[in-house]
């Protein structure tokens, strides 16, 4: 899928804000700027504080809306959660290089931890559903999985507290050998584990990385991650990288 080029737009209208769990929300805004799976926006719903915008992946997209799925972590996401229908946000995006969808064929595993599931819905929509398995780990109650089921995608769940699916980490119910391609997003430690399993099984893996960002567009170099090609910018060279290129323990 082609990565779209970005714009900066203030005053984008909030169409809906849904609370999915205690701390997970889905925000839908009216914009035609779109986005490919794995691309993200820098989102700002406040004037001066915090200083920087927050990166959020495109969760779902259509001609004139974009949705974000996000978890409240700190001040920025807390302010996002205060938004109501009719409110406005400033958006910079879509940004970055998303998933290499042209490489995704055969049996595909989508392995996610927690809010790492966010970018996967718009990805799954572009894939032939019968070939896709989502293996999603959560701390406790799962969220945002029904929509995958609706797509006809096979969903397997692991929860740390055992409240749903298998008790434990998603990496424990993930066997790379039965897939041709793997994509992953979640905490770095979890993705490192997925990358390791895939490397052992010689299965290609695309990982969507996280980093603290300032500009989000590739200009400031604060979001670097160590790769075999040297330091790369998560925002502009990624966020999606070939997992074998990432130096996971750097």
């Amino acid at each position: 899928m082609t990565n779209l080029s970005p714009a900066y737009v203030e005053g984008t209208t909030v169409l809906s804000q849904e609370r999915l769990t205690e701390d997970v929300y889905r925000l839908t805004v009216a914009t035609t700027t779109g986005g490919a799976p794995g691309q993200f926006y820098m989102v700002r719903a406040w004037e001066r504080e915090p200083l920087l915008a927050r990166p959020l992946s495109v969760h779902s997209v259509d001609e004139d809306t974009v949705s974000f799925l996000y978890q409240v972590r700190g001040r920025g996401t807390e302010l996002l959660a205060h938004l109501e229908q009719g409110g406005t946000v400033a958006l910079t995006g879509p940004l970055g290089h998303g998933f290499h969808t042209e490489e995704l064929c055969g049996r595909i595993a989508i392995v996610t931890g927690g809010i790492g599931i966010a970018p996967m819905f718009c990805l799954a929509r572009t894939l032939p559903s019968g070939d896709v398995t989502v293996i999603a780990g959560f701390k406790s109650a799962p969220y945002a999985v029904a929509q995958f089921v609706n797509l006809g995608v096979d969903v397997r769940i692991a929860t740390e507290d055992g409240c749903d699916g298998t008790r434990g980490f998603c990496t424990e119910i993930f066997d790379p050998h039965i897939y041709d391609m793997v994509v992953t997003c979640g905490p770095m430690s979890m993705m490192a584990r997925v990358a390791h399993l895939c490397a052992e099984a010689s299965v290609p893996c695309q990982a969507s990385l996280e980093a603290h960002m300032a500009c989000g567009v590739g200009a400031c170099l604060v979001c670097s991650c160590a790769t075999v090609l040297g330091n790369q910018r998560v925002c502009a060279d990624g966020p999606v990288f070939d997992a074998t290129e990432v130096i996971w323990h750097a």
């Binding site: 900066y8 200083l51 920087l52 910079t92 500009c215 567009v217 590739g218 400031c220 170099l221 979001c223």
Partner: protein, 306 residues
Amino acid sequence: MLETTLCGITLKNPVIAASGTFGFGAEYSEFFDVSRLGGICTKGLTLHPREGNPGLRVWETPAGMMNSVGLQNPGIPVFLERELPRMRTLGTAIIANIGGGDLEEYIEGVRLLSNVDGVDIIELNISCPNVREGGMAFGIKCDVAASVVAAVRPVCAKPLMVKLSPNAEDITAMAVACEQAGADAVSLVNTFKALAIDIHARKAVFDNVTAGLSGPCIKPIALRMVWEVANAIHIPVVGIGGIATWQDALEFIMAGATAVQVGTATFIKPTAMLDIVNGLEHYCADEHLTSLATVCNILGTETPLP
């Protein structure tokens, strides 16, 4: 109306993208017509490529941010080959910002940048707080700074602007020393050396312990420094530090700056500099000013306090 001459180079206007915050100009071209800027400072360049600092590189503070990028750059030869040709198509003045680990590196780097078309001004960064040997030591003491400037001056065929550190012992004396050593202009300030601690991990947030503070929080101090420096030297001063609006830019000009650089504000709003250019244009029109020089350095030199 906004046309400004900075050490012999004509800028469309006095608004320049600050080094390290605007890449090599390509990234933000997607958001606005960067040819409307007065100029662009490149990311800090060194003779040899650098990977920059490991670990976390950014942290937010009240009305500011700390960074610890550490001069990651492809090296001057690669810059000249790959980035400069593209930058020259952007239609604005190009200011090459150069850092260095030691005197030799500065000299060789300036020599390389001097020999090419398309670099309008060389900005000598003697003040980056984020590299171990990277210039901070040069930016603290006047005599050390002066020796660097004196050393690169003979090999520098371009206008030489020296970027000063707010961590200098005496930034005014430092500016005077740089002027005497042959600088054509000074720019100030670079980031303030600052610290953040992760109380849960019980260690510094940054691997390097300290990092550089920028953004609106530093503006009142940077403005004071620009005013003091502008009244102590005869070469132009470029004001930097927390500028986010045209009103901020105008304050720096009134304090004595010939031009300004904008860094962190661009992260907050990609088109911030465009708003500043437009705002200054409207200001001049509203106030019937034919040039911003009319309102430059209007506080006077009187320093009521020691």
